[in-house]
Subunit: 132 residues, 6 copies
């Protein structure tokens, strides 16, 4: 099994609903450093997993659509707790859609799995893994 | 599959028995930076894997019970080689016990796996993974 | 010259005023990982720069007073661009006040300088240095 | 499941063939920081996964045989795109050969899997995993 | 004293002349992760050291002009040992020229110093510092 | 001003005397990741600060002489609190002695300063700087 990973980041405000969140129920914010991993069983004819240029550009575009925003005000996230683990799934699903939609090159069709890690600090991070 | 990870550390003295350990047979020490990962299939109603506050506090408590000690003198480890990989299992099992014992909140009951990585230096680390 | 550094972090929402900030004029947020460095010429009688327990606790208290907040709403920062470099100075000055106020132990009186680095992502950080 | 990981690095020149590589079709170079992970189900009688001294020495030897070279000129890689993901497999296979050849100690016979991560920068890396 | 730092990277082939370089006399390569630090005494009217957008874009442009090349073939470096420390100076001087040439905004005129760190691996890096 | 830095590590047991150390008065241990920085005004004729091979080998030798030991039992440290900041000075002074003794090559004579950072965990480190 092969994989490649590219890193980017985004910076958002948000708040959480639920006692479990304690002081994080208040409006606050986070930098999320995002590691996007793409997996496949065998390399393609160029000896790569995916076009890393396209993968990085797509990840940057997805991060850009989230960044410098208050997620509480975004229609996509109305009434949703945009926890680190939830946002990892959002990014994974958007990358999966880009792959199945053909935005990441023909050879991306062989990608069998994606995992997204979002680092919210030097001491906490979350990961979401899915198949394609 | 979702996971979250929290990081803490502890600092211990110990020695090893067995020729394979070379100079590490002498009494020496280590800082172990601990990454504790909790896994579950779906998020709970708050959109989280586990109460990260409780998870971090429990990990700190487990690290505190090990730290600033000579493991060679601890009853739990008499005659045991407290290797990095072995200590990873000790911490995983103690966290698993906390979860099954109900110390980490009701939603922790859905945790299906734990993995613990102990970093002993910038060039060496060990991981232990288990199910729940 | 000796120094010791301790690390902590805080998570805030804020917005900036001024065209130079581009999309960061919108309400967004950041995790700031804080490295607080204390300097002195010679070590004290215990062979240390400062009581690292007190230094870490004070840094945690200062970070806690900032964290999980929207800085735009904080009286201390009304009408102020709470840039990374500005916040570095805020933390340095609060630590300096703690030292001169005697909150960090007698031997802290020999501290001659503080520098604070705030990391806002894996690719950007700011530092403020001052004397005491 | 237990694993241990050791880190080393190598520095090479190479070029790629294929439009997908864009400017990387030109002769350029990379530092590859290598994380080699060895897995087994249970620890051996010494409470370890593998002799970490032997594992680190073997990894250093494999990195040394690649380092300070232009891979385009190496007989092993003639006409091959030595991508990060491909080089991860090269190292995994050489370590696997060392294990099955008995070069890494008797207890290494219980190793069931290897994974190799090659970091080419702070924002991109590749992994290859295989069984033994 | 305030500073901000931005990070980027470039990937090159090169070789060195001189016995001191040992095997690095052969054509090989490196990834250089670049940290560019800008210093000034007081913040500007926006509470910043420099327009971080312009600083990051200029650093990316300078890295781009070096990357995916064999430095041995570049006219700028004919007969020069492009060591890590030397390349740090090249980048610092190019950034200084951009500042004095007015490419990085009016407020950049108050920058008093630049330092460039080039990381060539997880265990080696070089820094060059200069005034403006 | 130019500098280069090399990284190594050592693993020791020790205890501290003095109430300020709290639980660290007990016998415990640490991994110290060591960053050794060498400074000079201008590069030598080979465009380097120092022979990085010799510098790394000397640092490894100094770390090796400390590692896998209980510092409380070492004659050099009898009755001494081997704090992180103190150990940084020990290593700096040993490297300085190697330079002035001619062990690190002729061009090392131009080194004007050394600084040593010892990282004891992901959240604490100490630095000692000296001239030559």
């Amino acid at each position: 099994m092969f994989s490649i990973t590219v890193r980017d980041h985004f910076m958002v405000a948000h708040s959480f609903t639920g006692e479990v969140f304690g002081p994080a129920q208040r409006l606050h914010g986070a930098t999320f450093v995002v590691d996007a991993t793409f997996r496949r069983t065998e390399l393609d004819g160029d000896n790569i997993v995916i076009d890393i240029g396209l993968a990085g550009a797509k990840l940057k575009s997805i991060c850009g659509a989230l960044s410098y925003r208050n997620l509480d005000d975004e229609p996509d996230f109305k009434g949703v707790n945009t926890s680190t683990e939830y946002l990892a799934k959002v990014i994974a699903d958007r990358l999966a859609q880009a792959i199945t939609g053909g935005d990441m090159g023909a050879s991306a069709a062989e990608i069998t799995g994606i995992s997204i890690t979002l680092r919210e600090s030097h001491i906490a991070w979350a990961t979401y893994e899915r198949t394609l």
